[in-house]
Protein backbone atom coordinates (compact mmCIF):
# COMPACT_ATOMS: atom_id res chain seq x y z
CA UNK A 1 0.00 0.00 0.00
CA UNK A 2 2.81 2.36 0.85
CA UNK A 3 4.23 1.72 -2.56
CA UNK A 4 1.13 2.70 -4.48
CA UNK A 5 -0.36 5.41 -2.32
CA UNK A 6 1.40 8.70 -2.73
CA UNK A 7 2.42 10.25 0.58
CA UNK A 8 0.22 12.91 2.08
CA UNK A 9 2.97 15.47 1.59
CA UNK A 10 2.77 14.86 -2.11
CA UNK A 11 -1.01 15.28 -2.05
CA UNK A 12 -0.79 18.54 -0.17
CA UNK A 13 1.87 19.73 -2.50
CA UNK A 14 -0.20 18.89 -5.55
CA UNK A 15 -3.20 20.70 -4.21
CA UNK A 16 -1.14 23.64 -3.10
CA UNK A 17 0.54 23.85 -6.46
CA UNK A 18 -2.76 23.61 -8.32
CA UNK A 19 -4.17 26.34 -6.13
CA UNK A 20 -1.15 28.49 -6.68
CA UNK A 21 -1.24 28.15 -10.46
CA UNK A 22 -4.94 28.78 -10.46
CA UNK A 23 -4.49 31.85 -8.31
CA UNK A 24 -1.81 33.24 -10.59
CA UNK A 25 -3.92 32.63 -13.70
CA UNK A 26 -6.93 34.26 -12.11
CA UNK A 27 -5.02 37.29 -10.94
CA UNK A 28 -3.77 37.67 -14.49
CA UNK A 29 -7.23 37.38 -16.00
CA UNK A 30 -8.55 39.69 -13.36
CA UNK A 31 -6.02 42.36 -14.07
CA UNK A 32 -6.65 42.08 -17.78
CA UNK A 33 -10.42 42.20 -17.66
CA UNK A 34 -11.18 44.33 -14.62
CA UNK A 35 -10.79 47.74 -16.26
CA UNK A 36 -13.19 46.77 -19.03
CA UNK A 37 -15.68 45.32 -16.59
CA UNK A 38 -15.66 48.38 -14.39
CA UNK A 39 -16.01 50.60 -17.41
CA UNK A 40 -18.95 48.57 -18.66
CA UNK A 41 -20.66 48.88 -15.31
CA UNK A 42 -20.04 52.56 -15.13
CA UNK A 43 -21.22 53.16 -18.66
CA UNK A 44 -24.45 51.34 -18.01
CA UNK A 45 -25.04 53.30 -14.85
CA UNK A 46 -23.96 56.55 -16.40
CA UNK A 47 -26.39 56.16 -19.26
CA UNK A 48 -29.16 55.63 -16.76
CA UNK A 49 -28.13 58.67 -14.74
CA UNK A 50 -28.32 60.93 -17.76
CA UNK A 51 -31.70 59.51 -18.62
CA UNK A 52 -33.27 60.04 -15.21
CA UNK A 53 -31.83 63.52 -14.85
CA UNK A 54 -32.75 65.22 -18.13
CA UNK A 55 -30.57 68.19 -18.97
CA UNK A 56 -27.58 66.84 -17.14
CA UNK A 57 -24.19 67.28 -18.71
CA UNK A 58 -21.94 66.23 -15.87
CA UNK A 59 -22.19 63.97 -12.87
CA UNK A 60 -20.60 63.79 -9.46
CA UNK A 61 -20.56 60.65 -7.40
CA UNK A 62 -21.31 61.08 -3.73
CA UNK A 63 -21.12 58.40 -1.11
CA UNK A 64 -23.04 58.26 2.11
CA UNK A 65 -21.09 58.21 5.32
CA UNK A 66 -22.83 58.49 8.66
CA UNK A 67 -25.92 59.99 7.10
CA UNK A 68 -24.21 62.75 5.18
CA UNK A 69 -22.88 62.96 1.67
CA UNK A 70 -19.25 63.19 0.89
CA UNK A 71 -17.36 63.09 -2.38
CA UNK A 72 -16.30 59.73 -3.73
CA UNK A 73 -12.57 59.21 -3.76
CA UNK A 74 -12.48 56.20 -6.04
CA UNK A 75 -11.21 56.25 -9.58
CA UNK A 76 -13.14 58.22 -12.14
CA UNK A 77 -15.50 56.10 -14.12
CA UNK A 78 -16.02 53.41 -11.53
CA UNK A 79 -19.05 52.39 -9.56
CA UNK A 80 -18.51 52.73 -5.84
CA UNK A 81 -19.15 49.67 -3.72
CA UNK A 82 -20.58 51.80 -0.93
CA UNK A 83 -24.05 53.30 -0.93
CA UNK A 84 -23.96 56.20 -3.37
CA UNK A 85 -26.03 58.82 -5.13
CA UNK A 86 -25.08 60.81 -8.18
CA UNK A 87 -25.44 64.55 -8.49
CA UNK A 88 -26.13 65.81 -12.01
CA UNK A 89 -25.37 69.32 -13.26
CA UNK A 90 -26.42 71.16 -16.39
CA UNK A 91 -24.20 73.13 -18.72
CA UNK A 92 -24.36 76.15 -16.48
CA UNK A 93 -23.13 74.04 -13.63
CA UNK A 94 -26.46 74.27 -11.87
CA UNK A 95 -27.61 71.19 -9.97
CA UNK A 96 -30.31 69.33 -11.90
CA UNK A 97 -30.86 66.80 -9.17
CA UNK A 98 -29.68 63.55 -7.71
CA UNK A 99 -29.85 60.12 -9.28
CA UNK A 100 -30.71 57.69 -6.51
CA UNK A 101 -30.69 53.87 -6.74
CA UNK A 102 -33.47 52.05 -4.91
CA UNK A 103 -34.94 48.60 -4.76
CA UNK A 104 -37.87 46.67 -3.31
CA UNK A 105 -40.12 43.68 -3.83
CA UNK A 106 -41.95 43.44 -7.14
CA UNK A 107 -44.37 40.89 -8.58
CA UNK A 108 -41.81 38.16 -9.20
CA UNK A 109 -38.67 39.33 -7.52
CA UNK A 110 -36.81 42.39 -6.31
CA UNK A 111 -37.00 45.39 -8.65
CA UNK A 112 -33.92 47.60 -8.82
CA UNK A 113 -34.30 51.09 -10.23
CA UNK A 114 -32.65 54.47 -10.46
CA UNK A 115 -34.59 57.70 -10.21
CA UNK A 116 -33.78 61.36 -10.57
CA UNK A 117 -34.80 63.60 -7.68
CA UNK A 118 -34.92 67.36 -7.69
CA UNK A 119 -34.56 68.25 -4.02
CA UNK A 120 -35.48 71.90 -4.52
CA UNK A 121 -38.93 71.20 -5.98
CA UNK A 122 -39.29 67.87 -4.20
CA UNK A 123 -40.21 66.17 -7.44
CA UNK A 124 -38.98 63.07 -9.20
CA UNK A 125 -37.79 63.96 -12.67
CA UNK A 126 -37.03 60.56 -14.16
CA UNK A 127 -36.99 56.82 -13.42
CA UNK A 128 -35.36 53.82 -14.98
CA UNK A 129 -35.59 50.19 -14.02
CA UNK A 130 -32.13 48.65 -13.78
CA UNK A 131 -33.04 45.10 -12.99
CA UNK A 132 -36.27 43.13 -12.66
CA UNK A 133 -37.72 39.73 -13.34
CA UNK A 134 -41.28 40.90 -13.94
CA UNK A 135 -43.38 38.94 -16.40
CA UNK A 136 -42.47 39.69 -20.00
CA UNK A 137 -45.39 41.36 -21.71
CA UNK A 138 -47.06 42.42 -18.46
CA UNK A 139 -44.86 43.44 -15.61
CA UNK A 140 -41.96 44.38 -17.82
CA UNK A 141 -44.04 47.23 -19.17
CA UNK A 142 -42.66 49.20 -16.26
CA UNK A 143 -39.54 49.31 -18.41
CA UNK A 144 -41.00 49.57 -21.87
CA UNK A 145 -44.26 51.46 -21.50
CA UNK A 146 -43.76 55.05 -22.65
CA UNK A 147 -46.93 56.36 -21.00
CA UNK A 148 -45.84 54.87 -17.71
CA UNK A 149 -42.47 56.59 -18.02
CA UNK A 150 -44.31 59.90 -18.53
CA UNK A 151 -45.49 59.68 -14.94
CA UNK A 152 -42.00 60.25 -13.66
CA UNK A 153 -41.10 63.40 -15.58
CA UNK A 154 -42.45 65.55 -12.78
CA UNK A 155 -43.81 63.54 -9.94
CA UNK A 156 -44.33 65.32 -6.66
CA UNK A 157 -43.42 63.28 -3.62
CA UNK A 158 -45.79 65.18 -1.33
CA UNK A 159 -47.95 64.36 0.46
CA UNK A 160 -47.01 60.89 -0.78
CA UNK A 161 -46.68 59.18 -4.11
CA UNK A 162 -49.77 57.16 -4.86
CA UNK A 163 -50.77 54.77 -7.62
CA UNK A 164 -54.09 55.27 -9.42
CA UNK A 165 -55.76 53.42 -12.26
CA UNK A 166 -54.70 54.29 -15.76
CA UNK A 167 -56.24 57.53 -16.94
CA UNK A 168 -57.23 58.69 -13.46
CA UNK A 169 -54.14 60.72 -12.71
CA UNK A 170 -55.32 64.11 -11.55
CA UNK A 171 -52.64 65.34 -9.16
CA UNK A 172 -48.89 65.78 -9.50
CA UNK A 173 -48.25 63.15 -6.83
CA UNK A 174 -50.19 60.42 -8.64
CA UNK A 175 -48.95 57.69 -10.96
CA UNK A 176 -51.10 56.17 -13.69
CA UNK A 177 -50.73 52.43 -13.38
CA UNK A 178 -50.31 50.09 -16.31
CA UNK A 179 -53.42 48.06 -16.99
CA UNK A 180 -52.58 44.44 -16.46
CA UNK A 181 -49.48 45.29 -14.50
CA UNK A 182 -51.02 47.06 -11.57
CA UNK A 183 -48.87 45.22 -9.10
CA UNK A 184 -45.59 45.97 -10.76
CA UNK A 185 -46.63 49.59 -11.15
CA UNK A 186 -47.60 49.79 -7.53
CA UNK A 187 -44.33 48.17 -6.61
CA UNK A 188 -42.39 50.88 -8.46
CA UNK A 189 -44.48 53.54 -6.78
CA UNK A 190 -43.89 51.96 -3.41
CA UNK A 191 -40.14 51.78 -3.94
CA UNK A 192 -40.02 55.41 -5.05
CA UNK A 193 -42.14 56.67 -2.20
CA UNK A 194 -40.15 54.86 0.44
CA UNK A 195 -36.81 55.82 -1.03
CA UNK A 196 -37.70 59.47 -1.66
CA UNK A 197 -39.01 59.85 1.86
CA UNK A 198 -35.79 58.42 3.19
CA UNK A 199 -33.49 60.44 1.00
CA UNK A 200 -35.22 63.82 0.86
CA UNK A 201 -33.97 64.95 4.29
CA UNK A 202 -30.43 64.01 3.30
CA UNK A 203 -30.49 65.42 -0.22
CA UNK A 204 -32.30 68.67 0.44
CA UNK A 205 -29.60 70.38 2.54
CA UNK A 206 -26.93 68.90 0.32
CA UNK A 207 -28.73 70.17 -2.75
CA UNK A 208 -29.14 73.59 -1.29
CA UNK A 209 -25.45 73.77 -0.52
CA UNK A 210 -24.27 72.41 -3.83
CA UNK A 211 -26.76 74.36 -5.91
CA UNK A 212 -25.07 77.56 -4.74
CA UNK A 213 -21.46 76.65 -4.76
CA UNK A 214 -21.50 75.07 -8.19
CA UNK A 215 -20.13 71.64 -8.62
CA UNK A 216 -16.97 70.40 -7.13
CA UNK A 217 -15.68 66.89 -6.75
CA UNK A 218 -14.94 64.61 -9.60
CA UNK A 219 -17.18 64.69 -12.60
CA UNK A 220 -17.53 62.62 -15.62
CA UNK A 221 -18.15 64.52 -18.75
CA UNK A 222 -20.61 63.06 -21.09
Amino acid sequence: MAAREPGSLRLMATLGFAGLVSGIVLVGVYLLTQPRILRNQWEALNAAIYRVLPGTTSVTTLVVREGTLSPYEGATGTVPTEQAVFAGYDEAGVLVGFAVPADGPGFMDTIKLLYGFDPGRRVIVGMQVLDSRETPGLGDKIITDERFQQNFRALAIDPSIVAVKRGEKAHPNEVDCITGATISSEAVVGILDRSAREWAPVLQPAGAARGEEGHGGRTAAR
Binding site: L15, Q34, I37, P136
Partner: protein, 209 residues
Protein backbone atom coordinates in the same frame (compact mmCIF):
# COMPACT_ATOMS: atom_id res chain seq x y z
CA UNK B 1 -0.11 1.99 -38.89
CA UNK B 2 -2.33 2.69 -35.90
CA UNK B 3 -2.99 6.16 -37.19
CA UNK B 4 -6.04 5.24 -39.21
CA UNK B 5 -8.02 3.47 -36.50
CA UNK B 6 -6.85 6.10 -34.05
CA UNK B 7 -8.26 8.82 -36.24
CA UNK B 8 -11.47 6.90 -36.77
CA UNK B 9 -11.81 6.51 -33.04
CA UNK B 10 -11.28 10.20 -32.49
CA UNK B 11 -13.89 10.97 -35.11
CA UNK B 12 -16.26 8.60 -33.39
CA UNK B 13 -15.66 10.27 -30.03
CA UNK B 14 -16.35 13.60 -31.67
CA UNK B 15 -19.57 12.53 -33.32
CA UNK B 16 -21.06 10.49 -30.49
CA UNK B 17 -21.66 13.54 -28.35
CA UNK B 18 -23.71 15.16 -31.04
CA UNK B 19 -26.30 12.46 -31.27
CA UNK B 20 -25.75 8.99 -29.91
CA UNK B 21 -24.64 10.14 -26.48
CA UNK B 22 -25.97 13.65 -26.64
CA UNK B 23 -25.46 14.86 -23.07
CA UNK B 24 -28.78 16.65 -22.92
CA UNK B 25 -31.26 14.61 -24.90
CA UNK B 26 -29.88 11.14 -24.43
CA UNK B 27 -27.95 11.24 -21.18
CA UNK B 28 -29.83 14.19 -19.65
CA UNK B 29 -26.73 15.55 -18.03
CA UNK B 30 -25.61 19.02 -17.21
CA UNK B 31 -28.94 20.60 -17.89
CA UNK B 32 -30.04 22.22 -14.71
CA UNK B 33 -27.62 25.08 -14.35
CA UNK B 34 -28.11 25.88 -18.01
CA UNK B 35 -31.84 25.60 -18.40
CA UNK B 36 -32.73 28.64 -16.37
CA UNK B 37 -31.15 31.04 -18.84
CA UNK B 38 -31.82 29.22 -22.07
CA UNK B 39 -34.84 31.27 -23.00
CA UNK B 40 -33.36 32.71 -26.17
CA UNK B 41 -31.09 31.44 -28.87
CA UNK B 42 -28.42 33.97 -27.94
CA UNK B 43 -28.42 32.94 -24.33
CA UNK B 44 -28.38 29.28 -25.29
CA UNK B 45 -25.42 29.82 -27.57
CA UNK B 46 -23.48 31.92 -25.08
CA UNK B 47 -24.13 29.43 -22.32
CA UNK B 48 -23.19 26.56 -24.61
CA UNK B 49 -20.01 28.23 -25.80
CA UNK B 50 -18.99 29.17 -22.29
CA UNK B 51 -19.47 25.56 -21.27
CA UNK B 52 -17.54 24.45 -24.33
CA UNK B 53 -14.63 26.64 -23.36
CA UNK B 54 -14.60 25.25 -19.85
CA UNK B 55 -15.03 21.65 -20.89
CA UNK B 56 -12.46 21.68 -23.65
CA UNK B 57 -9.93 23.56 -21.56
CA UNK B 58 -10.37 21.34 -18.52
CA UNK B 59 -10.30 18.15 -20.54
CA UNK B 60 -7.14 19.18 -22.26
CA UNK B 61 -5.44 20.01 -19.01
CA UNK B 62 -6.70 16.98 -17.14
CA UNK B 63 -5.64 14.66 -19.93
CA UNK B 64 -2.22 16.28 -20.10
CA UNK B 65 -1.75 15.98 -16.37
CA UNK B 66 -3.47 12.63 -15.97
CA UNK B 67 -0.25 10.83 -15.06
CA UNK B 68 0.86 13.52 -12.64
CA UNK B 69 -2.23 14.04 -10.54
CA UNK B 70 -2.37 11.66 -7.57
CA UNK B 71 -5.67 9.78 -7.48
CA UNK B 72 -6.80 10.67 -3.96
CA UNK B 73 -6.87 14.38 -4.69
CA UNK B 74 -7.87 14.22 -8.32
CA UNK B 75 -11.39 15.48 -7.80
CA UNK B 76 -10.17 18.48 -5.87
CA UNK B 77 -7.65 19.24 -8.58
CA UNK B 78 -10.31 18.88 -11.27
CA UNK B 79 -12.54 21.28 -9.41
CA UNK B 80 -9.76 23.80 -9.07
CA UNK B 81 -9.05 23.53 -12.79
CA UNK B 82 -12.70 23.83 -13.72
CA UNK B 83 -13.31 26.71 -11.36
CA UNK B 84 -10.35 28.54 -12.83
CA UNK B 85 -11.73 28.19 -16.32
CA UNK B 86 -15.18 29.21 -15.20
CA UNK B 87 -13.95 32.30 -13.43
CA UNK B 88 -11.96 33.17 -16.52
CA UNK B 89 -14.94 32.83 -18.80
CA UNK B 90 -17.05 34.81 -16.36
CA UNK B 91 -14.61 37.73 -16.37
CA UNK B 92 -14.09 37.63 -20.11
CA UNK B 93 -17.80 37.66 -20.81
CA UNK B 94 -18.33 40.50 -18.39
CA UNK B 95 -15.66 42.47 -20.14
CA UNK B 96 -16.63 41.71 -23.71
CA UNK B 97 -20.36 41.00 -23.67
CA UNK B 98 -21.78 42.94 -20.75
CA UNK B 99 -25.39 42.64 -21.89
CA UNK B 100 -25.34 38.87 -22.28
CA UNK B 101 -23.35 38.56 -19.08
CA UNK B 102 -25.98 40.46 -17.18
CA UNK B 103 -28.71 38.19 -18.50
CA UNK B 104 -26.87 35.01 -17.57
CA UNK B 105 -25.76 36.37 -14.23
CA UNK B 106 -24.79 33.83 -11.64
CA UNK B 107 -25.57 30.98 -14.00
CA UNK B 108 -22.21 31.41 -15.70
CA UNK B 109 -20.54 30.71 -12.39
CA UNK B 110 -22.78 27.72 -11.92
CA UNK B 111 -21.11 26.03 -14.87
CA UNK B 112 -18.61 24.94 -12.28
CA UNK B 113 -21.05 22.44 -10.81
CA UNK B 114 -22.32 21.17 -14.12
CA UNK B 115 -21.77 17.48 -13.66
CA UNK B 116 -21.25 16.97 -17.35
CA UNK B 117 -17.89 18.66 -16.99
CA UNK B 118 -16.69 16.90 -13.88
CA UNK B 119 -18.16 13.68 -15.18
CA UNK B 120 -16.21 13.86 -18.41
CA UNK B 121 -12.96 14.43 -16.54
CA UNK B 122 -13.58 11.48 -14.31
CA UNK B 123 -14.92 9.19 -17.01
CA UNK B 124 -12.84 10.12 -20.01
CA UNK B 125 -10.10 12.74 -19.91
CA UNK B 126 -8.31 11.21 -16.98
CA UNK B 127 -8.00 7.93 -18.84
CA UNK B 128 -7.38 8.91 -22.43
CA UNK B 129 -4.80 10.61 -24.58
CA UNK B 130 -4.95 14.30 -25.22
CA UNK B 131 -6.26 13.83 -28.74
CA UNK B 132 -9.12 11.60 -27.72
CA UNK B 133 -9.95 13.77 -24.74
CA UNK B 134 -10.08 16.79 -27.00
CA UNK B 135 -12.31 14.98 -29.46
CA UNK B 136 -14.58 13.81 -26.68
CA UNK B 137 -14.80 17.24 -25.09
CA UNK B 138 -15.49 18.89 -28.41
CA UNK B 139 -18.14 16.35 -29.26
CA UNK B 140 -19.82 16.54 -25.88
CA UNK B 141 -19.79 20.29 -25.67
CA UNK B 142 -20.85 20.49 -29.30
CA UNK B 143 -23.82 18.33 -28.52
CA UNK B 144 -24.48 20.35 -25.39
CA UNK B 145 -24.30 23.66 -27.23
CA UNK B 146 -26.50 22.35 -30.00
CA UNK B 147 -29.07 21.20 -27.51
CA UNK B 148 -29.07 24.47 -25.59
CA UNK B 149 -29.30 26.38 -28.85
CA UNK B 150 -32.24 24.25 -29.91
CA UNK B 151 -34.01 24.77 -26.60
CA UNK B 152 -33.22 28.47 -26.71
CA UNK B 153 -34.44 28.78 -30.26
CA UNK B 154 -37.75 27.03 -29.60
CA UNK B 155 -38.35 29.14 -26.54
CA UNK B 156 -37.41 32.37 -28.25
CA UNK B 157 -39.44 31.77 -31.38
CA UNK B 158 -42.61 30.88 -29.50
CA UNK B 159 -42.05 33.05 -26.48
CA UNK B 160 -40.91 36.19 -28.16
CA UNK B 161 -41.63 35.71 -31.85
CA UNK B 162 -38.02 36.33 -32.68
CA UNK B 163 -34.75 34.58 -33.34
CA UNK B 164 -31.44 36.02 -32.22
CA UNK B 165 -33.48 39.08 -31.38
CA UNK B 166 -34.85 39.61 -34.88
CA UNK B 167 -38.64 39.60 -34.99
CA UNK B 168 -39.92 36.80 -37.18
CA UNK B 169 -43.63 37.31 -37.44
CA UNK B 170 -44.25 41.02 -37.30
CA UNK B 171 -46.38 43.06 -34.94
CA UNK B 172 -49.50 40.92 -34.97
CA UNK B 173 -47.86 37.92 -33.34
CA UNK B 174 -49.02 37.07 -29.87
CA UNK B 175 -46.02 35.69 -28.00
CA UNK B 176 -46.45 32.63 -25.79
CA UNK B 177 -44.95 34.22 -22.74
CA UNK B 178 -44.87 30.93 -20.87
CA UNK B 179 -42.10 29.72 -23.13
CA UNK B 180 -39.61 32.19 -21.75
CA UNK B 181 -40.80 31.62 -18.21
CA UNK B 182 -39.56 28.68 -16.15
CA UNK B 183 -42.46 26.32 -16.92
CA UNK B 184 -41.73 26.78 -20.60
CA UNK B 185 -38.21 25.55 -20.01
CA UNK B 186 -39.40 22.35 -18.42
CA UNK B 187 -42.09 21.77 -21.01
CA UNK B 188 -39.78 22.47 -23.94
CA UNK B 189 -37.23 19.97 -22.72
CA UNK B 190 -39.98 17.45 -22.04
CA UNK B 191 -41.38 17.78 -25.55
CA UNK B 192 -37.93 17.65 -27.13
CA UNK B 193 -37.07 14.54 -25.12
CA UNK B 194 -40.24 12.85 -26.33
CA UNK B 195 -39.53 13.86 -29.90
CA UNK B 196 -35.99 12.53 -29.67
CA UNK B 197 -37.18 9.26 -28.22
CA UNK B 198 -39.77 9.03 -30.96
CA UNK B 199 -37.25 9.79 -33.68
CA UNK B 200 -34.83 7.30 -32.26
CA UNK B 201 -37.48 4.60 -32.12
CA UNK B 202 -38.46 5.28 -35.73
CA UNK B 203 -34.87 5.22 -36.91
CA UNK B 204 -34.25 1.97 -35.14
CA UNK B 205 -37.36 0.46 -36.62
CA UNK B 206 -36.20 1.49 -40.07
CA UNK B 207 -32.77 0.02 -39.42
CA UNK B 208 -34.08 -3.32 -38.33
CA UNK B 209 -36.60 -3.64 -41.15
Amino acid sequence: MAAEPQRAKALDELVKGLWRENPVFIAVLGLCPALAVTNSLTNGLVMGLATTFVLVGSSLLVSLLRKVIPRPVRISVYIIIIATFVTTVDFVLAALMPVAHKQLGAFISLIVVNCLILGRQEAFSSRNSVGLALADALGMSGGFTLALALIGAVREVLGNGSLLGYPLFGEGFEPWVIMILPPGGFLTVGVLLVLFAWGKARLERRWTS
